[in-house]
Symmetry: C2
Subunit: 259 residues, 2 copies
């Protein structure tokens, strides 16, 4: 009997971001694996076991879920946002490639979800309205000079830049360093959007500029582990609206970027 | 009375990709604007008017929807995929910025959706598992040399590349040109994924390599207007699976890319 492993994207946090496909896949699972707080958000179901793990145990979680599925069960691994964007799907593929033959015989399904940059962008207008990139600032799995090289390349070529994992307790300086790096290529007035905990009760979306992006305003740290940062291009616009939050967007048309 | 404009992402085509938020926003709208075939997919609702337009009339559609909303209605503009990714949200922001004051007083809500690259990636594993970019190959609104520059920058810096709008009847040569350009930077064996009409009945996902990406196999044109192309990096892997489609993924860890 061959098991099934579903890797399910929950979106940014609120059930209203869940797709119908993800809701069905959650309901069908006999066992749920995932980061504890994600599992806690889901209603208990009779006959469905839960296997919480810590946020940093992705490789171990992938292995446990695959072993379980290989025994014939319908197993689901839940992932915040989209499983394919800095989340569980790659960790599971890594384990499948190097694991026992039985893991490559499994029925593996990835269920996409709303990744953080799409949720933050939607809250503020259309900052990703033109060519863009998604870059993790975590140097746990890649060398910092490679991240700097990608920041340079993306800013010089005129991509909007969505920064995932801007800081953590163990990585306090990376975001400030990235902002300094981007200032070499982009004007001080370039719009920057901070989206924190979008789709949750403590949601907060702030607009600033590249020159002020590493300031910490009084009483609030704008960037933390739950923050997604979008850095615009030379063409990104901010529309003031009386009595409403400004809109930030990047026009669909672009001209040649000066070298 | 102030109107409301919702810009709603439908995802790649099948209702199972719709989020709960998008389904609610569709149900609340008094008027739906959008590309005709998208509107045709939605069940008719009593009291809800429909205003189809052609695929290339985004600016005119945005203006009509804004005028309607400014009269006080609950208006929705539907968009395939995510409205913020090469879709309607930027077109609407452009009109809001340059239009009458009343348009900047409207309640504007963007409802995110599953964009094509997430749906295609999910079908094949985790090809976007590391840093990636999204680039439109349409040179209707930007000069081709700028697209070439972005292809160079993204490939050199080791981003996975999702190509939107790879070809159209009016743009037959751009995709082949882009493939040739990418071959300057990436090995011939670099995995390339074609996802066509994902989430629809005629869905087709193919894996090839950069050396063969511009070949037309006998009997089938792999790239058309409904195709999303993902070009891997030097690190992207293909996992063979007996009796199943291979998985394609980009590992979470990366090493320094040689210059």
């Amino acid at each position: 009997m061959s098991g099934r492993l579903a890797v399910i994207g929950l979106g940014p946090g609120d059930p209203r971001y869940l797709t119908a496909e993800a809701a069905d896949a959650l309901a069908e699972a006999q066992a749920l694996y995932g980061y504890g707080p994600y599992l806690d958000r889901m209603p208990a179901r009779a006959g469905q076991s839960r296997h919480p793990s810590d946020n940093r145990e992705e490789t171990a979680r992938a292995g446990e879920a695959l072993r379980h599925a290989a025994q014939g069960g319908r197993v689901a691994v839940v992932s915040g946002g989209d499983p394919g964007v800095f989340a569980m799907a790659a960790a599971i593929c890594e384990q499948i490639e190097t694991g026992p033959d039985a893991w490559r015989a499994l029925d593996v399904v990835v269920v996409p979800g709303i990744t953080a940059m799409l949720a933050v962008a939607a809250r503020i207008g259309a900052p990703l309205g033109h060519d863009f990139c998604a870059l993790s600032l975590s140097d746990n799995l890649k060398p910092w000079p490679l991240i700097e090289r990608r920041l340079d390349a993306a800013a010089e070529a005129g991509f909007v830049i969505a920064l995932y994992n801007p800081v953590s307790h163990a990585r306090p300086w990376q975001f400030g360093n990235a902002v300094e790096r981007l200032r070499r290529h982009l004007p001080a007035t370039t719009p920057v959007v901070f989206g924190r905990a979008v789709g949750r009760r403590d949601e907060r979306v702030d607009i600033t500029t590249l020159s002020a992006a590493d300031d910490t305003p009084a009483g609030a740290a704008p960037v933390d582990m739950a923050t997604l940062v979008i850095v615009g291009t030379r063409e990104t616009r901010v529309i003031a609206r009386p009595g409403r939050q400004p809109l930030v967007y990047t026009p669909r048309a672009a001209t040649e970027v000066s070298a």
